[in-house]
């Protein structure tokens, strides 16, 4: 009798403490993600202190980047990042939307999964290999076949003036577009697929064609989520490093022309960080990295909120 009592006691005790220990252990690992985020932030913040003390806010607005004289301003790189990423969006968004619509609304059922798999496969190809392809295939292609007609027909715009040697802002934008199409299109597709079927059926029942259904019943419903997908692509473009570094030409000059070489925040870090010798140079590059981290975190938060809001409304509606 006593033994029975004891064993019951033991089981219930071990149950409580086992659960408690397990929860604390896995909880600690979960906490480590917050610690990681904090460390990431702190390391870059502390190590960029020197540059922040010397240049202050002028770091963001000065366009002089001179490692010899030790004067550093990040404007050319902020400019390069913004222009190349917007260019990428300009190219990638229409394509991504077309892909998302086709794969969620219009394509034959059998083709949908394999086609989306193939498009997402592009995202798994390492950036350095896309850069290698960019140097030897894409840049010459743009120089020989895309730039001449642009300068002939749109040459009156400052955007398409000057000589084009291959590595340029334009090439960087195109390669970024190629790299963000998988994420933008797959998130848009997921968002479009959350549109309730009765929306479509209602439009179809009124006699709308497949495209009209997409236009009046599907896209308005998915708008904010698609916007989130676009922002997510933007965040990807801003942080993308290797492929851009290899094709953008690495020049510190701010130029109006898309044909001139340029540099992005990520590419200047990749190019100069391991060769930077002075403390101030290293610190300035780390400050660029810190800015890059902040921008991409803000962009990611915005995108997640937009995408999540839609997905949550949908799942709430179902429950």
């Amino acid at each position: 009798m006593d033994r029975e009592h004891l064993s019951f006691f033991r089981i219930s005790r071990s149950k409580i403490s086992g659960d408690f220990i397990f929860e604390v252990v896995v909880g600690f690992f979960a906490l480590s993600i917050l610690i990681l985020a904090f460390l990431l932030f702190r390391e870059l913040f502390v190590e960029s202190g020197l540059s922040r003390n010397i240049f202050g806010l002028g770091f963001l607005t000065s366009s002089t980047w001179d490692p010899v004289k030790e004067v550093f301003g990040a404007l050319p790189f902020i400019f390069g990042t913004l222009v190349s990423s917007f260019l990428a969006l300009l190219i990638a968004v229409p394509f991504s939307l077309g892909i998302a619509i086709y794969l969620s609304e219009l394509a034959p059922e059998k083709l949908r999964t394999p086609l989306s798999f193939i498009i997402e496969l592009l995202a798994s190809i390492p950036s350095v290999i896309i850069g290698l392809w960019g140097i030897f295939i894409l840049a010459p292609f743009i120089r020989d076949y895309l730039a001449p007609p642009l300068s002939t027909y749109l040459g009156f715009l400052p955007l398409f003036q000057g000589p084009m040697y291959g590595p340029s802002m334009l090439t960087g934008g195109v390669i970024l577009a190629i790299m963000i199409i998988p994420i933008t299109s797959s998130v848009s597709r997921e968002v479009i697929m959350t549109v309730p079927t009765h929306q479509r059926e209602a439009a179809l029942a009124l006699g709308a064609t497949g495209w009209e259904t997409t236009q009046i019943a599907v896209l308005p419903y998915a708008r904010s989520g698609i916007f989130g997908a676009v922002i997510l692509g933007f965040g990807r473009a801003i942080g993308e490093t290797m492929a851009v570094t290899m094709v953008i030409g690495n020049s510190q000059k701010i130029s109006e022309s898309l044909f001139s070489p340029s540099n992005t925040m990520a590419s200047v870090i990749a190019n100069q960080f391991s060769e930077a010798t002075s403390n101030l140079h290293v610190s300035s590059l780390i400050e660029i990295g810190f800015l890059l981290l902040m921008i991409s975190i803000i962009i990611n938060i915005a995108a997640r909120i937009l995408v999540w809001k839609l997905l949550r409304v949908e799942s709430g509606g179902r429950a």
Binding site: S32, P126, V128, I129, M246, A266
Partner: protein, 278 residues
């Protein structure tokens, strides 16, 4: 007439969106084609097993870079997989509270960390501390990219485990931690493994985090606290050099790397799909 116009627009738009898909696939096909065509001629046993030779000398290979990639990715996995998987277990099984939702949100946000920033973190956190580029620093930088991915995929795949299974186990008097370990995790195992392998595939090709952490080395690995050669960095070095001979090696290296990554990627999806089918 009006009806015809609507039908025409429908047809044009459908075809245009199909064309988007075709155009988006062209770069992929072109990349795979050029990598195979340019890379295949330089691939031979020597290329896979020998050390690189200086410029001008023929022959030589990427043996040390292949070895280095396995070492650095191995270090990253040793750090990233336990943290990622256990955090995912917490989020899915105990995470229905403010803290859990916040961690899940942060993990999601961290998946957007620019890879070059992860490299910088490896530099300031490890390289500056030990005053040397090292394989460990490279592994740490890669694990920064790996942890949030593994966390989220683990969380997602464990959330798919039906509640009825957990309840059945709990009803038998099995404590929650044992239920989690032996029932939930073993049911969601294939999802966790898929996520882990995809994360490994993803970081194996990363270059930017390694440029100033593991750096590079022309010799075989001689210690985890020393600079180490990796395939992506070696490909980058060869690609931007002005020597045609090095370009050929860059293509060959790219072919090896792409095969490694695509086999992981496609293989994983194939295996898991078949499992779910059964």
């Amino acid at each position: 007439m009006k009806w015809n116009k609507r039908k025409l627009i429908d047809m044009i738009m459908s075809n245009m969106s199909a064309a988007c898909v075709v155009i988006a696939i062209i770069p992929l096909v072109s990349i795979l084609y050029t990598v195979i065509i340019n890379g295949i001629s330089s691939i031979n046993p020597d290329f896979l097993t020998q050390l690189p030779k200086p410029v001008g000398e023929p022959g030589g290979g990427l043996g040390n870079a292949i070895q280095g990639t396995f070492i650095v990715v191995g270090i990253a996995s040793l750090i990233g997989l336990p943290i990622g998987i256990l955090s995912g277990v917490y989020l899915s099984e105990y995470g229905e509270n403010r803290f859990g939702r916040f961690v899940s949100f942060m993990a999601d946000v961290l998946t957007g960390t620019p890879s070059v920033v992860a490299g910088m973190f490896g530099y300031t956190f490890i390289v500056l501390y030990f005053k040397s580029f090292s394989a460990i620093a490279g592994g740490v930088a890669l694990s920064v990219l790996m942890i949030p991915i593994v966390t989220r995929t683990t969380e997602e795949s464990l959330k798919l485990v039906p509640g009825s299974i957990k309840e059945a186990s709990l009803a038998l008097g099995i404590p929650k931690w044992k239920t989690t370990l032996y029932i939930v995790i073993s049911t969601g195992k294939s999802g966790i493994i898929t996520g882990a392998l995809l994360a490994i595939a993803r970081i194996s090709g990363e270059t930017a985090p390694l440029l100033f952490t593991s750096f590079g080395n022309m010799f075989w690995a001689n210690g985890l606290d020393k600079p180490i050669s990796t395939m992506p960095v070696q490909i980058y070095t060869y690609a931007i050099a002005p020597y045609p001979d090095w370009h050929a090696k860059a293509w060959a290296g790219a072919l090896v790397l792409i095969i490694l990554i695509l086999v992981l990627n496609i293989g994983v999806r194939f295996i898991t799909r078949r499992k779910y089918g059964m």
